[in-house]
């Protein structure tokens, strides 16, 4: 706070004499580092300016929002009155949601390993193949999951198939990128050493690369399960089945008790998955 750039230039020479000189001219001793990251203050300023501009651009009617804040309390109060009357519907749709999440995860794991193998630069050493695979999956990954599910709904009709297929698109894309990264982090020497023995590309992959990357694959999968479940829980809201449909339907039908129960269950499952993942991560 108490130094400017001139003082800083003087301070580039750390010798005491110069420090004393600076004192004479400015009457102040600087305290900060010579090589600071000057980018961070600029970045912070940029973020603040952009955010303020964004807020103005959005033209949110804050007055109206604030005036309705008491309604939030009302809604939460009603949500808290859990209603267990539709428990079988809630449970069956929850099971369906979890199944879709797990199934899409498993399919994507397989696909991810295969495509990750193609995308990694050090397995087949065909640069064009890697680049093509990677850019294709970058595109798939850039489109949010619910959009894929919506498209699959259009193509495949209502039902869990659309959910599984839609989730698979995004999850596979995610796995391809992260697995390829893991494969590429295997040192080249390891692969070369096996190449010298005359092993084929595929056998190198399955005997050396895959086992070495296995712990990372498990970690990625655990992380993705969390995301997949919450993605899956919201899919119902854009038209697919599952617990999301129950939540949005009962909220729109003012059946807050059922919605509250369903939301609570979603929270509990998500929380359990998170805890489980933390446990698994600790084992590695």
């Amino acid at each position: 706070m108490n130094m400017n750039s001139d003082e800083n230039i003087v301070m580039l020479n750390p010798q005491r004499k110069l420090i004393r000189d600076a004192q004479k001219t400015k009457g102040r001793i600087p305290v900060k580092c010579r090589q600071r990251n000057r980018f961070i203050p600029c970045f912070l300023a940029g973020v603040v300016v952009l955010s303020v501009l964004s807020l103005f651009y959005l033209e949110i009617d804050w007055g109206k929002m604030v005036s309705r804040v008491p309604d939030i309390g009302e809604v939460f109060w009603q949500l808290a009155h859990l209603d267990f009357a539709n428990m079988d519907l809630i449970l069956s749709s929850l099971v369906e949601t979890i199944s879709i999440a797990v199934l899409s995860l498993l399919y994507s794991l397989l696909l991810g390993i295969i495509f990750g193998m193609l995308a990694a630069r050090n397995i087949f050493r065909i640069p064009l193949l890697s680049v093509l695979t990677q850019s294709f999956f970058t595109f798939l990954r850039a489109v949010p999951t619910p959009v894929w599910v919506l498209l699959m709904l259009v193509c495949l009709g209502m039902g869990p198939e659309a959910g599984v297929a839609g989730l698979c698109v995004h999850t596979t894309a995610f796995f391809t990128k992260s697995f390829a990264q893991s494969f590429e982090s295997i040192p080249d020497e390891t692969i070369e050493a096996l190449e010298v023995t005359g092993a084929g590309r595929l056998s190198i992959f399955f005997n050396a690369v895959l086992p070495a990357a296995l712990s990372q694959i498990v970690a990625w999968a655990g992380m993705r399960l969390e995301t997949n479940f919450s993605e899956c829980a919201i899919l119902g809201m854009v038209g697919a089945g599952g617990i999301g449909y129950v939540i949005s339907n009962s909220l729109q039908g003012y059946d807050y008790g059922t919605a509250g129960t369903a939301i609570l269950l979603v929270f509990l499952v998500a929380y359990c998955i998170e805890r489980l993942f933390v446990r698994i991560k600790k084992r590695f």
């Binding site: 964004s54 959005l58 199944s99 850039a142 869990p160 086992p211 998500a270 929380y271």
Partner: protein, 266 residues
């Protein structure tokens, strides 16, 4: 090459075998539960492909008169993600100071703070959006608040972890020096954790760009709403070009944040 030398330790191998068995069992159970059969999907592939090639391809531009509207909806999505993340980050910073036993001046409440954040975080943003829609009505403002809630909760967790990793030691030493809590925050936590915080902030911007598209689809405004309306009116070829637009938007933002992150962590 006669004898196979194990590449991993024995107990680790057992662990992996366990995972494999669990995966197979889960696969069987969930396949039955959802009646999902990959082979029927493939055998019905023709219909799928014809649908794809006839209805989606080639991507078509929306009517010329609506193009400015589409572009401005992209800006709305970007603005929503940006402002919501910043507001959430500022709130999360102050709350996370109280979320770690090692740093907070009231360690007994740290668990409460973290529990609250866990609760907010484990309910998806879209569920928050729906809850808020039913009390505040549909609009961009609600999308903003819904995004704020989840990214706030996420950042509280990330910030607390960063703090415990990075600044626990120097907070202790400043405590020993007799510094006050605000002094500890400004002189130890901020300088040592700022780059970590900003890196998480950028990650949240990336996530929120996608999330704000989705929240838009159910009524939060922005490009998500535009896309949803085209899909609902069966204009799939136009929808495809908007999907491409979303993809470009996300990829560009990802590239920018990656560059910024590199600069920050330098």
């Amino acid at each position: 090459m006669t004898k196979k030398i194990p590449l991993i330790a024995h107990d680790l191998k057992k662990l992996y075998t366990g995972f494999l068995i669990a995966a197979v069992v889960l696969f069987a159970v969930t396949s039955i539960l959802t009646e999902f059969n990959i082979f029927t999907l493939i055998s019905n592939g023709d219909a799928f492909w014809s649908f794809l090639t006839e209805d989606f391809l080639p991507p078509a531009l929306p009517k010329a008169s609506r193009i400015p509207g589409v572009l401005s909806s992209v800006v709305v999505t970007l603005a929503l993600a940006m402002s919501a993340t910043t507001v959430a980050a500022i709130l999360a910073f102050f709350v996370s100071l109280f979320g770690s036993e090692k740093v907070s001046p009231f360690p007994q409440f740290a668990k409460v703070v973290r529990g609250f954040a866990t609760f907010l975080r484990n309910i998806p943003a879209l569920v928050w959006a729906f809850i808020l829609f039913s009390s505040l009505g549909i609009g961009t403002g609600v999308g903003f608040v819904a995004l704020c809630i989840t990214s706030f909760a996420f950042m509280v967790r990330a910030f607390v972890e960063t703090m415990e990793d990075v600044s626990q030691d120097c907070v202790e030493s400043l405590q020993a020096v007799g510094a006050t809590f605000p002094q500890r925050v400004a002189q130890a936590i901020l300088p040592s954790c700022l780059s970590g915080f900003l890196s998480w902030f950028l990650y949240c911007v990336e996530v929120n760009i996608r999330a704000s598209t989705i929240v838009g689809m159910v009524g939060g405004g922005g490009v998500g709403l535009t896309l949803f309306s085209y899909i609902k009116s069966f204009q799939y070829d136009v929808a495809l070009s908007i999907i491409l637009l979303v993809a470009v938007m996300v990829i560009v933002v990802d590239q920018i944040t990656a560059r910024l992150r590199k600069e920050i962590l330098k």
